[in-house]
Amino acid sequence: MAKDRNADSDFKGPVRRVLVATALFFLLAIFLIWRIDSPRVERFRAAFIDRVVPSFDWALVPVTKFVDMIEGFQSYAALYDQNQELRRELQQMKSWKEAAVRLEQQNAKLLAQNQVRLDPKLTSVSGVVLADSGSPFRQSVLLNVGLRDGIVDGWATMDGLGLVGRISGVGETTARVILLTDASSRIPVTIQPSGQKAMLVGDNTPYPPVEFLETPEQVRPGDRVISSGDGGVFPAGLLVGEVELGSDQRLRVRLAADYERLNFLRVLRSHPAEQITEAGGLITPPVSPPVHETINPPVPVGDAGDG
């Protein structure tokens, strides 16, 4: 029996080793190919996720809602205090609402006077967050809109209030949003009111730092940060958040979007800004038509047969 077993393993051992070595080789090859030609492999990844994750969909939504409900129950403990606080806030909100209505009327009047035409192309597609990235080192979410909804790589994504991230990786029915907190996220921003340009650099922490500031002295905690539209990828003027001083004395941004519950996201249809490539041509007086053209009979109109 022992002899038998040895014969068996003599045969199986080397074959197995070769197979494992081949698998290792292929895996490392895939990594190298990914490093060299990332878009192709990422397309494969998007297709894979597009196939796999929506099949979890039936369970993802109920479980998420259930956990949200439990969190909701926990907040019953502070119900009375919350109620009082909400009443106070409501009072304040009423006065703000008055102010907002007045401003809206004023704004409408001014727009009418100026005959401003808002960009009709800046429309959005709304999507529901399907899944998280599932890794502590990558910050991204998966939306349930994709190629069939016309989503394109690079479009900006917002929740109700602020910028959330950009689309990176589109499948047939899903699209991945790289959040502003991801280590690979770089967004050009403007800091108001000083109007300084900077980059918002994600670093896997809840409050991404602002880098490449010309004069940091002019920036104070509490300043508004909006997207600047530099580079032509993002539309300008989207609210990102406000500046605050991190515990490491770096300027960081408290994001306006509620990352705690990303539920519905709006993907902004942005179109590449038109490029002006040529310098303005000379403006010359209209050239008088050449003589022989007047001799020719006029080109017949209407018998082209395309009507």
């Binding site: 895996l27 490093r35 993802l60 949200d68 890794s135 502590p136």
Partner: protein
């Protein structure tokens, strides 16, 4: 006919895949997207090592490759690298599985800790070498440490929930071969 041992082996493989799917499912639940300060343990790696050192035939190499490659794709990791490292790690442990049988848990824990730490460091170093955006060094170490910390819990859970223990001396499989 299908003999009971093969059935049990297939059932346990299915159970392993089910557990892995559950862990991935829980991790991708969209419950708040704030980056965490303390990266959680890599439960799938832990589970794989524990099962491998108990019953290597429940976690064959091709399943390890498939599971980790799918996880690579879903968790937005560079595809292939972590799978290759884990496959190499499991093969290293698999060839020494018989040595682990009469080893106390503490010694087993130390050995696997070393393997987990080595894999994490190698992964980090290779990512840095290829200039792939990766997590910070501290986070990598923290994740390896929390994976190591949870190892005895996974051992206990596998024992009490699924009755997974090391092959006893003289235990035989369906064909009378020693395990």
């Amino acid at each position: 006919m299908v003999d009971p041992l093969t059935t049990s082996r297939l059932a346990h493989r299915a159970l392993y895949l089910g557990l892995v799917a559950t862990v991935i499912f829980v991790r991708i639940l969209p419950l708040g997207s704030i980056p965490s300060r303390w990266p959680g343990p890599d439960l799938i790696l832990c589970l794989t090592f524990v099962w491998l050192l108990r019953r290597p035939d429940y976690v064959p190499a091709f399943m390890v490759a498939v599971v980790f490659f799918s996880e690579d794709l879903i968790a937005m990791r560079p595809p292939g690298l972590w799978t290759a490292l884990v496959l190499a790690g499991t093969e290293f442990l698999r060839t020494r599985e018989t040595n682990f049988r009469d080893m106390p848990l503490l010694l087993e824990w130390l050995t696997t800790s070393a393997v987990i730490m080595l894999l994490s460091l190698l992964n980090w170093a290779i990512l840095a070498l290829f200039m792939v955006p990766h997590g910070s060094f501290g986070m990598t170490i923290l994740q390896a440490l929390s994976t190591i910390a949870i190892y005895p819990l996974v051992v206990a859970a596998s024992l009490f929930l699924f009755g997974l223990r090391k092959a006893a001396t003289g235990e035989v499989d369906a064909l009378g071969h020693r395990l």
